[in-house]
Symmetry: C2
Subunit: 190 residues, 2 copies
């Protein structure tokens, strides 16, 4: 059931970094994005994949991490960092805007990753100039988001947000990550 997979597919930011991910696995995940819908079937998204420690080490410092309880998360320490990345690029020679293609692609990739026991996070907070330089990405490609992937080391719990409550996710003292979601009747307005 897709519902079980959607529920299991929780954003994760701490990983067993020593569990490596094969390049072929990343290619299979990108293939799910390839086979998904694209606005007017234009398919302007391109991908850079990384699963080797040297390339990963170039990518990690370019990524912003989350904010918990008002404090910026410095990101996972060495040993708990992502084992792999999929950088989602927009090919500006194909399109100038990318609609919702990158969201569709990211969801297909993460549902596929979840099925393989992997998890991760979609990062929009990216130092784009630094990352472009580090990987020598040609200027025709716009960095849209970076998908960080690994074997999850966090426990995540879905909760229902009370009306007017605080939507921020938070970590408890057992390092369980709580994710409050607005109730269905609040988001269906007609």
């Amino acid at each position: 059931m897709i519902r079980d997979l959607v529920i299991a597919n929780r954003t994760c930011r701490r990983f067993y970094q020593d569990v490596t991910i094969e390049r072929e696995t990343l290619r299979e995940l990108v293939d799910l994005a390839r086979l998904s819908a694209s606005g007017a079937n234009r398919q302007p998204l391109k991908y850079i994949i990384s699963c080797d420690p040297q390339k990963n080490a170039l990518i990690f410092p370019c990524l912003g991490f989350a904010i918990y309880n008002g404090q910026r998360d410095p990101g996972p320490p060495e040993g708990e960092r992502p084992s792999a990345y999929i950088i989602v690029l927009g090919d500006t020679e194909i399109a100038k805007s990318f609609g919702c293609d990158h969201g569709i692609a990211a969801q297909s990739i993460f549902l596929g990753a979840r099925e393989k026991g992997l998890g991760g996070v979609i990062q929009g907070a990216v130092k784009r100039k630094e990352l472009s330089e580090a990987l020598r990405i040609p200027p025709r490609y716009q960095i849209i988001v970076v998908l960080s992937l690994g074997k999850p080391k966090e426990k995540m719990v879905l909760e229902t947000l009370e009306p007017g409550g605080d939507f921020h996710y938070w970590r408890d003292s057992d390092v369980v990550h709580h994710v409050p979601k607005r109730p269905l009747d609040e988001i269906i307005i007609g």
Copy 2:
């Protein structure tokens, strides 16, 4: 396997309009979006759902349809129109931009729809002013995309696009809808 569902989940624009979709089914689909990732967990998306013929008749004229062989598709005739709609709104009192949330939501919804034997199309070409007026949508809600849903009456075939080939989908004389996708090695650039 998520891959089978992703492959089966093809955009569709012709439906068995007399096959109705229950409001509860639409709520289940929106629930998949609700349980999916949202940037910073802000959850700014709201939804209007429609499955009754009167409300559907207000929505349909506000939607743009596809272009085939350079000719604008006038959209499906009466009898082959969507049985239901999910209008994806951005609540501007929660966020001013919506990142890739709507793409994630749309993919969760359509994968769930596919599992229920339904299909449809994400429409960004929407007469927003007309639709807002027709449904009296308060101005705080920005119409992002409309998801049209129904029981598919088209056959869709995935194909691999030759390098430099035409990415446009097209219909053959048997009303089979051909969807050429760029090959994996063209979209993974590093």
